[in-house]
Symmetry: C2
Subunit: 437 residues, 2 copies
Amino acid sequence: MAQGTARKSDYSDKNDKANVLSLPLAAGQADREPHSYERWLLNKLMRMAGSPPIQFRLWNGDVIEPEQSPARFTLHLKDHKALYSLVANPNLAFGDLYSAGRLDVEGDLPDLMESLYRSVHAARQKWPRWLDALWRNHNPRSTGIAEAKENIHHHYDLGNEFYQLWLDQAEMQYTCAYYENADNTLEQAQLAKLEHVCRKLRLKPGMTVVEAGCGWGGLARYMARHYGVKVHSYNISREQLAFAQAESEQQGLDNLITYVEDDYRNITGQYDAFVSIGMLEHVGKENYPALSELIKRTLKPGGIALLHSIGRNHPMLMNAWIEKRIFPGAYPPSIGEFMAICEHSDFSVLDVENLRLHYAQTLNHWTERFEANADKVTAMYDEHFTRAWRLYLAGSVAAFRAGSLQLFQVVFTHGDNNQLPQSRQDLYTFPATPEGA
Amino acid sequence: MAQGTARKSDYSDKNDKANVLSLPLAAGQADREPHSYERWLLNKLMRMAGSPPIQFRLWNGDVIEPEQSPARFTLHLKDHKALYSLVANPNLAFGDLYSAGRLDVEGDLPDLMESLYRSVHAARQKWPRWLDALWRNHNPRSTGIAEAKENIHHHYDLGNEFYQLWLDQAEMQYTCAYYENADNTLEQAQLAKLEHVCRKLRLKPGMTVVEAGCGWGGLARYMARHYGVKVHSYNISREQLAFAQAESEQQGLDNLITYVEDDYRNITGQYDAFVSIGMLEHVGKENYPALSELIKRTLKPGGIALLHSIGRNHPMLMNAWIEKRIFPGAYPPSIGEFMAICEHSDFSVLDVENLRLHYAQTLNHWTERFEANADKVTAMYDEHFTRAWRLYLAGSVAAFRAGSLQLFQVVFTHGDNNQLPQSRQDLYTFPATPEGA
């Protein structure tokens, strides 16, 4: 199987100074017995985390039970250095240790993560300042034009074959699906999402659409195929664009779709609709005013814009491990932060919908398929990579279930545009889910 | 006809120092000829206002035509002092002069106001700082518990008979209606609004609801009648509550509805739903964190909250005349400002809908009925009052049409609540508009 061009080493950075404590023991080296203050440290750590129902099994087999409730999960710490690394910076070390196999989990991984998120969320209000400073997540790295290329390359150029193993077979959607009914399949829900987005944009044949960040091009194809609109789709992931272009040609849609390998900041022209699904997370707050001005000048007077993005209930830094290992530069905004885009250019917000639990369900479906193909993933990359992605997917399920992540679809238009839909009734006149998909 | 207890003199405060220039000439006193620099001043004023298609007719009959486009409207200035007053502070003086009959309008009043709003909105970006400072609107007055009573009394205690002359006959709704179809009557659209709100709250029989600011109690009665829920409704307008209580008893709904004459800040208990329609405008930004905490403690874990409020596309002060003469203490927030309520207590926003043009249509309907009853209004109060209200209604139509005001319905719940509706489809399964209303 052909592999993508992104470096798998990004997922196990052994030269990372912050992680120097977490270097494992040399192969074959026997670990010593745990000290009593190490037990004390783990107890303290769990109290700081709000006493979740988690017990520790140490490298010598000793078990440290939770203080307040019977254990539902077990964390297995495989060497004493892993313990210090975890206590020093749990936000980053949990993921690195798990990926390296030095921390293991017994019990359902998403359930454990959800339990941990909920308990930490409640507990962190009472943390002393020094602890919050010590463990804090950090500001995301730059999303300037040059850095954005690196950031996107890191994640999206891992290889189309990899993503094909676990994304939907319908349109390769790597964003939240829309489950009109709880028992919809992933394919149905992803097609329903595309349909829902098209309806929110009130597309009509002959209209023009510009798309900022197009993944493997599925939305553009759906729009061209079902709505007869002309689409310009921008993306800086070369692997994704190659796939998108080939599909578009094969389906005879290339007369309606232009895929452009360029940064969204270089969009030119004027369009009836501006749409961006799952790119805003990578834009960076400092670029919101510029994005706002870009939409202002590229959206026709009667046009509608839709941004679909992971978000927060209130401003919060990204988890350090996710930002460092999985999504460099990522930052999910609260609606208040998001409004910098709308308020900067006198846009009028027409509609905000939160699809949080739809993303938890999407991630459930991805996780099932990922696990069914875990051996293939390990063969394509390595065990470290598979474990990192297992944790990332499970942690994301958990974050959407626990409410630490949200999914917002925001529809807006120019402040002086009076050609508005009478209501949102037209979004719901017949099911968005295709029959038999 | 019985009158309310609010002072009509609030609408023509002759002792207002800011207005000393605008004192009219003594009765019978003949005005002098206009000076050439007075023409220059008016030309300058119109240029600052973005050169709208408006001409001036002066007190001696002279006409000053607009510089850039043929006149569609005429402003008649009836004395030279009115001119100085207008130039010194147009935001406040326009309303006061119009109310006093010293400024008159030829042409459609809402159309003129809309044209003026659009033109000023575009022009004000280029205003020199000193002009923005000179003409600026001001921060709204305090909305502390004691002051709120005065603020609300000023407007809502004008007399129920007055409001009955022009509000809908169905449920006396003094807030934005919901026009599923553009040709709905005011009664249909107000009932559809109540239905739409109940659906967004996902009410079921036996649930409990608390309402902050209940007007004449129409929503509470609708909820009790159609959804079988128990409602506690708070209001500090005594006139409105007397009406609400009498209606509830007459309709045999008083076993389900408790009207409470008290400030929303004194709400106690826990409820399945928290709803507030058209009160947030009177709350004051400085009280948003406290309101947030109030909702946090009064909303049950699985409960839904809905706030319906006039708003803005971006933060902006209230028009000085409206804040001073019509709605003391009022401030319509942008969504970004609104989010202080949701983000302060980790609420999760589920749904935002903007009904801007529905409010323009509601105000059209109110204006028609108001004009049909203008003689009765003058008989109840005086000509000054009728003119002030005519301008306020026309100016509001214009503000919603021009996009300087928005109408937001925001639905949210506790951040950790996972009992969420699958989608918004259930809001649209059958028309919210009653047949034959």
